[in-house]
Amino acid sequence: MSINRRQFLRLAGVSTVLGVGGASVLSALTGKGEAVSQTTPHFTTDPRAITGKRWGFAIDVRKLKTDEDYQKCISACHDIHNVPDFGNPKDSVKWIWKDTYEHTFPTVTEDEIMNKELKEKPFILFCNHCAQPACVRVCPTKATYKRKDGIVMQDMHRCIGCRFCMAACPFGARSFNYRDPRGKDANGRPFIRKENKEFPTRMIGVVEKCTLCYERLAVGLLPACAEASNGAIVFGDLEDPNSEVRKVIDANYTIRRKPELGTQPSLYYVIGGRE
């Protein structure tokens, strides 16, 4: 058997990372040389996967007419991502939510005589997946990091729960698990009402947020909120001038939240233009 210590360690490490476990390492070692090469890691992208250079959204809330329309987008996300409901605002965890224009754009609404209808118009908010994210800059463990396609990711297994990212995010996009999301309330009702076994639940004491449906993009599905939005949330590659999201931005007047802070948000809100 021609395998030295170093090869063994590498093999064992890789197997563990892949979750293959000890059994296959053993079989690889006791088997022929071919068995070793078979367990060498190789990653293939699903041919259905959607890829891009910088994901972004154009959000036209004029197309969200009723409260139900908003709720559909929110539930679509929260249900598949096992977002817990702790039943109080203090501990609340949310990936996508609705708030007024005034709260969404606080720096541009210091205006007493502005259009009241617009001022109180509900908007839909989630992580801006900024091009220059403050949260990534401050994280002491790289638990939050930026992917090549622009997604600001969150590794809930590495997060130490220091909440520096929550202090740094100017958009309030991050939530902390102040309680165990896998637990139950005093009446025995689970915080995750109906668990989606396809997506991991989180543990107590870590920060979480919208991860731009990376798991759906990987198999060729659109982000859940966009899919449920009836065309109000348009998703696409901001760096592709022919993408649908760019066409919406080109044809309409759009604004972003707190652009003066230089984080370069990737969410564009349609305020005026063609409907």
Partner: protein, 387 residues
């Protein structure tokens, strides 16, 4: 030398026992927090740091203040600090120990703390804070222990400790600067986004830390046979006075910029702290308490005739310490989170378990301090001090 901490009077052991009892109660509370989660505290999605991080920030200042003894003694040969410089160094050890513990109890996943080392991230200020605080702790233990050991034998400290002492001066400045950078580099938190934050931190540290040291020196004189001396305490009193004036001046600069510019985002947190904001004002009374105590302490300190009376000096130092503790250990953190990122208000107030855990960490700090001071005082009582 540590064996000296094992011999003490009945009063000494009663004090140690009381501290251990407090630590025990707090530890049970911490176990509760560990299983239930940080939901046990008053923290929320909007105010995600509170009392724990406030204590951490405040105590980094106390730790840094040892430099106010080290500079005069080692750089300017101000001999009068010779007897008490060790008290400053050991206070720093105790303060940094508390800092580390406050970070630990604030973490959602404390068992993963080594991730900071396993995945070093130089772009994170918290990574650097971890480095400078650990370094400062080691520096002060090594310097304090070595110089005291030499004193005990009646010899000069070894030569190799000198460079470490010089290094500890900029290092002390670095711990508080880096800690200020945790806040001062965050976009969107108007209260923290100020270039003068590090300067404010240093000024308040050099006021609050030596003020505590004066109180401790007076206690040491009262409780032991070791007298730190009248003059060193008076010299510290002058340092405290200057530093506190600088601190109040810097705070005034913040007020000017916020209110003369009339920018709503800059004014809002200050309004929340001192007058209430949109009907919310949980912190108004304690912030004014802080201001009144600051004025009181400065009034007592600025007149030399008053300051020379050690009883008045003690009152001034206690007032100042409490004032700074409220301002930096509480108001500064909460003010960064109110109003929140949507210009809404979620208020914060610590819960009972949170307060008890906080008191417990302070008790651990006092335990470390008591043991170290016991050793230092025992060496001094033996007469083991030579210029």
């Amino acid at each position: 030398m540590l064996e000296k901490a094992l011999i003490g009077s009945k009063r000494y052991w009663l004090w140690i026992g009381a501290l251990l009892a407090v630590i025990g109660i707090a530890f049970i509370q911490y176990l509760h927090q560990f299983s239930y989660g940080l939901g046990i505290t008053g923290l929320s999605r909007d105010v995600s740091w509170g009392l724990y991080i406030g204590q951490f920030t405040f105590l980094v200042g106390v730790a840094a203040s040892a430099v106010m003894l080290v500079i005069p003694y080692y750089l300017h040969d101000f001999k009068k600090f010779g007897k008490i410089v060790i008290l400053g160094e050991f206070l720093a050890v105790s303060a940094v120990t508390m800092c580390v513990l406050f970070i630990f109890v604030d973490m959602g996943q404390p068992m993963r703390i080594m991730n900071v080392v396993l995945h070093p991230t130089p772009n994170s200020i918290m990574f650097w804070d971890f480095i400078v605080l650990t370094g400062y702790l080691v520096l002060n233990i090594v310097i304090g222990w070595t110089t005291l050991g030499a004193d005990r034998k009646g010899v000069h400290p070894p030569q190799w400790v000198k460079p470490l002492i010089y290094l500890s001066v900029p290092w002390a400045v670095s711990i508080h600067t880096v800690t200020a950078f945790l806040y001062a580099g965050i976009p969107g938190r108007h209260f923290w986004l100020t270039a003068i934050m590090a300067a404010r931190f240093l000024a308040s540290a050099f006021a609050g830390g030596p003020a505590l040291l004066i109180i401790l020196s007076l206690l040491v004189r009262k409780l032991t046979k070791f007298d730190p001396g009248y003059e060193p305490i008076q010299a510290l009193g002058k340092i405290v006075t200057y530093a506190m004036f600088a601190n109040v001046f810097f705070l005034g600069l913040e007020f000017f910029t916020a209110f003369y510019s009339n920018i709503p985002g800059h004014m809002a947190p200050i309004e929340y702290l001192y007058t209430g904001f949109e009907g919310h004002g949980k912190l108004v009374s304690i912030m004014w308490t802080s201001s009144i105590l600051a004025v009181l302490s400065l009034t007592l300190l600025v007149f030399p005739a008053l300051r020379r009376n050690e009883n008045i000096l003690a009152v001034a130092c206690v007032s100042m310490f409490v004032s700074l503790w409220i301002d930096k250990g509480f108001g500064l953190i909460v003010g960064g989170f109110v109003p929140n990122m949507f210009e809404g208000v979620t208020e914060y107030w610590p819960t009972v378990p949170e307060t008890m855990i906080t008191i417990g960490v302070w008790a651990i700090g006092f335990l470390v301090l008591t043991v170290l001071y016991k050793v230092a005082v025992a060496v001094r009582e033996e007469g083991g001090y030579h210029d």
